[in-house]
């Protein structure tokens, strides 16, 4: 081949022969021009970059991460546990001075032990009326509230995304029927239904889960999850359906279908990954609403089971001693406020960063 090229006659201007000079090796300068100046960016990286520029959202992210880390790790190393009644040994009340301690006060037994030279971890927020260390109850309550918020949102996410995607993808009669069901559930007054279902579930579930692993989780929490799984996914389903309807028109979907991909495969591999920003944003905004609902139910006595605390139940409990021990309301209230506010602002920041419609 090489020999033949070399012996080729000079190029006729009208000839269709290839220009040999175009096949020469590139020199260094030309190679340099071809170099990529920076890494090509993905949609996710692009969004994260914009999120990192948003100072407010980043502050909120740091606060959320900080609270989550405290809620996870502090109960492991803390010297008291959330259900331990300090004045009670083996079911017998031995020292009632532990009940209702003010912040940084100690029970009588503890004072004696301190005189003997023992160092004792202070009760930062005092103790409650049952002599339980209040600081660890707040931290553990934060953990429970976050768990409820997180898992309730995950349940909503899974059910809503699958339902919405199927409805949007198949369209036609399937869509019509599925969306009518959504309309009906959507128009039910959700909080009233939640109260009703939580009341009923609390009564009926208790004997069912007795002795199983679920018992430790508590009827209250399970009924909150069931209620979310039954009622709260409709908003997410509508949102995802809307997204799927626009994505369905894209060429890559047509392409996938033309090479014989099945519906389920297209939804899983092509459509849902392209709704990922909507999924993340609305899940982030769902967590505060779940925490709210849980605290509302706790107030009505339908939330998590005693002695397990949640921020809502702590605040609700604190109402009885509000005039003397107002800090017992204020501490969980401020914690709820911080979590919900940070998550709301973070969700807004995520929306600004990931919603391509707002892109400049």
């Amino acid at each position: 081949m090489k020999k033949k090229t070399a012996s080729m006659p000079k190029k006729n201007p009208l000839s269709l022969q290839l220009d040999i000079s175009k096949f020469e090796k590139a020199n260094d300068e030309e190679k340099f021009l071809q170099q990529r100046m920076r890494e090509s960016t993905t949609f996710f990286k692009d969004g994260m970059r914009r999120l990192a520029k948003n100072k407010l959202a980043m502050t909120c992210l740091i606060i959320v991460v900080f609270i989550v880390l405290i809620a996870i790790f502090v109960p492991m190393i803390y010297p008291y546990s959330y259900e331990q009644q300090l004045g009670v040994t083996a079911g017998q009340s031995v020292d009632s001075s532990y009940n209702n301690l003010k912040p940084f006060e100690y029970g009588e037994t503890e004072l004696k032990r301190m005189e003997e030279g023992e160092s004792i971890f202070p009760h930062i927020f005092g103790t409650d009326s049952h002599g339980r260390d209040y600081a660890i109850r707040v931290i553990y309550g934060t953990r429970i509230s976050l768990i409820v918020g997180f898992f309730a949102s995950i349940i909503v996410l899974i059910i809503g995304a699958i339902y919405g995607a199927i409805s949007g993808y198949y369209g036609g009669k399937v869509d019509l029927i599925m969306m009518r069901i959504v309309d009906i559930i959507y128009s039910l007054p959700d909080l009233l239904m939640i109260i009703l279902l939580a009341t009923v579930l609390k009564q009926t579930l208790t004997p069912v889960i007795e002795g199983t692993g679920l018992e430790k989780l508590g009827v209250g929490m399970i009924s909150i999850f069931i209620v979310f799984a039954l009622l709260y996914w409709v908003g997410m389903a509508r949102l995802i359906r809307g997204q799927i309807l626009t994505i369905k028109q894209q060429d890559y979907v047509l392409n996938a279908r033309s090479i014989g991909a099945k519906g389920g495969h297209i939804i899983r591999r092509h459509m849902l990954p392209n709704c990922i920003s909507v999924l993340i944003i609305s899940t982030a905004l769902q967590i505060p609403s779940a925490i709210f609902t849980e605290s509302y139910l706790s107030f009505l006595g339908l939330g998590v089971n005693m002695p397990m605390p949640s921020l809502g139940s702590l605040a609700a409990e604190a109402r009885s001693g509000i005039f003397t021990y107002s800090y017992r309301l204020i501490i969980p209230a401020v914690t709820i406020f911080l979590i919900v506010l940070s998550l709301n602002l973070l969700g807004d920041g995520l929306r600004d960063a990931f919603d391509p419609k707002l892109k400049k």
Binding site: I184, S187, L188, P189, L192, G301, A333, I336
Partner: protein, 308 residues
């Protein structure tokens, strides 16, 4: 009225009717699913007495027959007798409680809409100025706390630390704090809603035209902008009523207002099932009607909305 709108209204009314029917059905069967029945308390009556009581309230009949009877009773606005309040019917209690709660709810809704619209427009007119920022911080902050916490903190602040208002909500001065705690969340929401739709409207061409031809700024804001910016707020009226009604459950309890929410709260605690059912159905119907009205109003006021 065009046929498309008529079709929409008919569709929505049918959906609302079906929703109410569904609520009644769910409530009925949910209550039947609770083990023990309403007569189970600390000092249970003897089996003979229970049987007689059940016969009196028709609880010994087959469940579908009970359901049929209940449906027809509800259609006649008869929710049966309250089990814990001897000698009173549920309808009686609901109507009595609703007089107070209705006032409370209306006041809260009115305040939320008026102040929300005012703050929202103010924020939009002074977009990105300090006044806008303050309003946004306040409205973002006040949606981050559950209503019962707000109510308790208000109680603490204005009845204990600075005793301005009585902590008991049975007098009219005592209703001030419940109204504030109920209206805070919807007010913040309406503020944000108004702000964003106002910003949208203020960027429109016809506003620039109005300004260019020398219409006074006040007139531009009230006549040209606010009138057009108010439509999204209409859709929020339904959900707002729902929020206020469910919020009144806890707020009325905290301030001991003798309203329907307070009755509902105690009937849940006391397991007064006919009362729980009656109040749920009553409140749910009210919410569904309000949502229906606000949706229809939205379509009528904003002809741009696609009806398909």
């Amino acid at each position: 009225m065009n046929s498309k709108l008529a079709f929409y209204i008919v569709k929505r009314v049918l959906l609302a009717l079906f929703t109410v029917f569904l609520v009644i059905t769910i409530t009925f069967f949910a209550m039947k699913a609770i083990p023990g029945g309403p007569f189970l308390s600390e000092k249970s009556p003897s089996p003979a007495v229970t049987a007689q009581l059940e016969a009196k309230y028709g609880l010994d009949k087959p469940i579908l027959e009970q359901y049929g009877t209940y449906l027809s009773d509800v259609l006649h606005f008869d929710f049966g007798p309250s089990i814990k309040n001897r000698g009173r019917t549920v309808t009686d209690l609901i109507l009595e409680g609703f007089k107070t709660s209705g006032m409370l709810g209306l006041e809260a809704a009115g305040i939320a809409i008026l102040i929300g619209l005012a703050l929202g427009s103010l924020a939009a007119v002074f977009h990105n100025k300090w006044i806008d920022k303050i309003i946004m911080v306040l409205s973002t902050g006040s949606v981050a706390m559950p209503s019962f916490v707000i109510a308790t903190l208000l109680l603490l602040a204005f009845c204990v630390w600075v005793p301005i208002f009585p902590p008991n909500g049975s007098t009219s001065a005592g209703l001030v704090l419940p109204v504030i705690s109920l209206s805070l969340y919807p007010m913040a929401y309406i503020t944000r809603l108004t702000r964003s739709s106002m910003l949208d409207v203020l960027g429109q061409d016809y506003i620039r035209t109005a300004r260019a031809k020398g219409v006074s700024p006040i007139k531009v804001i009230f006549k040209h902008s606010l009138k057009n910016a108010v439509t999204p707020v209409i859709t929020y009226v339904g959900p707002m009523i729902a929020y206020i009604l469910t919020g009144s459950l806890v707020v009325e309890n905290i301030f001991s207002v003798p309203g329907i929410g307070n009755y509902f709260f105690s009937s849940i605690i006391n397991r007064d099932y006919p009362m729980v059912m009656g109040t749920t159905i009553f409140l749910a119907t009210l919410m569904v009607i309000m949502t229906l009205l606000s949706d229809i109003a939205y379509k009528i006021f904003d002809p741009r909305v696609d009806l398909s």
